[in-house]
């Protein structure tokens, strides 16, 4: 769906994209990264709004630098900023966006109503957009991005500034699009939970470089493994035996519970050997799944 090869873009002294190379497929892709990572620049490059200094950009099989209009016809974009049409109502804004994409007036109006129903904007759709709350603005922007029935919709920080209820509703919509035969979604955010909840693939960026690109399930802590260990009864020598084998042990509130972090490349057998040596009675041993936050911090090189 998205194929980038050596994409580089510089704004003055700032290198916004530094040799971005990745291939992304999926129904919902999270674009993660701290502020200034190059997420918005990358979205604009995908749209053909910014021409990269170097590299190739292919979106949905089209070259975004050579055929930007054809790409934009198949993409929807909800920008992060306050971009709006002052003086228009929500309905007029969405219908206008449809007409800009070539839909005829009548079809644009019908489609605008459908999309506003989808994003949950009720009769306030007839009010001037300048009277809208942040949540309503975001919904209108998403409706404008969807109105011409794109194959891929780019949402730039769609949940920023939203109250929890509106945020839930918007993320539900992304899940609905992912699962309901709508366009694929590229969701740019710095909220890991949003990605965890909605996406099946992700691209992690930092300082204009790709740190991870692939399925969310593949995003794990690749080196050190952490295990939750629970004993039937306390066994103080076990912690010492584990530490002697190079593992880091963190005792829990109760003495029979501990967290064991094995050194890089060490197999789980190291734990079993220590258990056998100290004759400890194991009740539970389970590898701890790395949270997305841990994996993200690891990917951008800020893991604790």
């Amino acid at each position: 769906m998205i194929d980038l090869a050596g994409v580089r873009k510089r704004f003055g002294a700032t290198l916004a994209l530094d040799g971005v190379t990745c291939r992304l497929d999926g129904r919902a892709i999270g674009l993660l990264g701290p502020n200034g990572a190059g997420k918005t620049t990358l979205m604009k490059v995908l749209l053909g709004l910014i021409r990269p200094d170097e590299g190739q950009v292919r979106v949905l099989g089209l070259d975004a630098t050579r055929e930007p209009r054809a790409v934009r016809m198949r993409l929807g974009y909800a920008a992060e900023g306050p971009g709006r049409m002052p003086g228009l109502s929500g309905l007029e804004s969405v219908a206008y966006a449809a007409e800009l994409c070539g839909l005829r007036r009548r079809q644009a109006l019908l489609r605008a109503h459908d999309m506003l129903d989808l994003v949950g904007l009720d009769e306030s759709r007839y009010r001037d957009v300048e009277t809208y709350s942040t949540g309503m603005h975001q919904r209108v922007k998403v409706a404008m991005a969807l109105v011409h029935d794109p194959d891929l919709v780019l949402l730039d920080e769609p949940t920023s500034g939203l109250d929890p209820q509106s945020r839930d509703a918007l993320l539900d919509l992304v899940v609905h699009l992912r699962d309901g035969g709508g366009p694929a979604v590229l969701l740019s955010t710095h909220l890991l939970k949003d990605v965890e909840r909605t996406c099946d693939a992700c691209l992690i960026m930092q300082a204009g470089q790709v740190r991870f690109a692939g399925r969310l399930a593949d995003l794990q802590l690749p080196q050190a493994a952490t295990y939750d260990l629970r004993l039937a009864r306390p066994c103080p020598p076990l912690a010492a035996a584990l530490e002697a084998s190079g593992a880091a042990v963190t005792l829990g509130r109760r003495p029979e519970v501990m967290e064991v972090r094995l050194p890089e490349g060490a197999p789980v057998e190291a734990i079993w050997r220590a258990i056998a040596a100290t004759d400890a009675a194991v009740f539970h041993l389970e590898p701890r799944a790395a949270s997305l936050e841990e994996a993200f911090l690891h990917a951008i090189g800020e893991a604790p």
Partner: protein, 304 residues
Amino acid sequence: MTEDRVHAIGYQRIAAPGRRASAIWPIARTLVTLALKRRATKLALILCLGVVVGHGIWLTVQLLSVRFAAELGMRAGAFRLQDAVGNVQEVLASYLQIQFYFTTPAIAVVAGGAIADDRRAGAFELYFSRPLTRLSYGLGKIVGTAAVPLTTLFLATLILWLAAVGIAPPHIRADLWSLALPALVGAGLATAVLTAGMVGMSALARRSTGVAVAFVALLLLGSAVAEGLAESHQLWGGYLSPERDLRTLFDALLEPGASSFAGSILGGRARVNPSVAGSALALGLYIAAGLGALWVGIRREVTS
């Protein structure tokens, strides 16, 4: 479950996209629709309507009096009457000249923010993240802006001419047929000058009010200064005034002759530039400068 309950049916793809419509007309229509919501626009257009009605009355009185005089065989009287009420050429030339003054603030109110407001509201991203070319955007803004002078100058001139043809006695009607083209060419030129100047200034600015004030000041006060130069024997100064250049062309096209008593009430025949070709060239340069500014303004905002 009640019958009037609304059910969300989820995301639906567009079944039959159909042929794509041009975005020029929606852009123009939206510009005019937004302008018509403002009270200042309505006031400016009412004043323009007043000019049309005033000249319509003058034309009607003139032609009916000539007609009655002709029917009563008062040829000598009719000549005196014509000295008092003028001829159709004079009405049309006067109309174009006076309506130009009234249309200048009207177009400034309607289209001062045509592009400046898009820049201020961050709407460029909204436009150009869609399959819209800079040309379509520019043409849409030109058509929307031109709607005002096309109505107040071009269409109204056509209506006045048609009224003249309808009311005029047969011996005058034959002369009026040949008047349509020069009158409409004059109206078209005024339309082009006002439209190009307005969109050009709006494309370079950020605030609609500032653009409107600057446009009116430049066109009307600047013209007054240029008139002053021309009257103080600096003849080149006359070509710096678009209004004087237009007046020169109106007179050359319509050949209204000496000012009548009715015409002198409305200010009479003002002086014109010595060279019609020079005025035409100056107007061409104004139009080119306006369109050039529009192109530069759009290009500055949108890279591709």
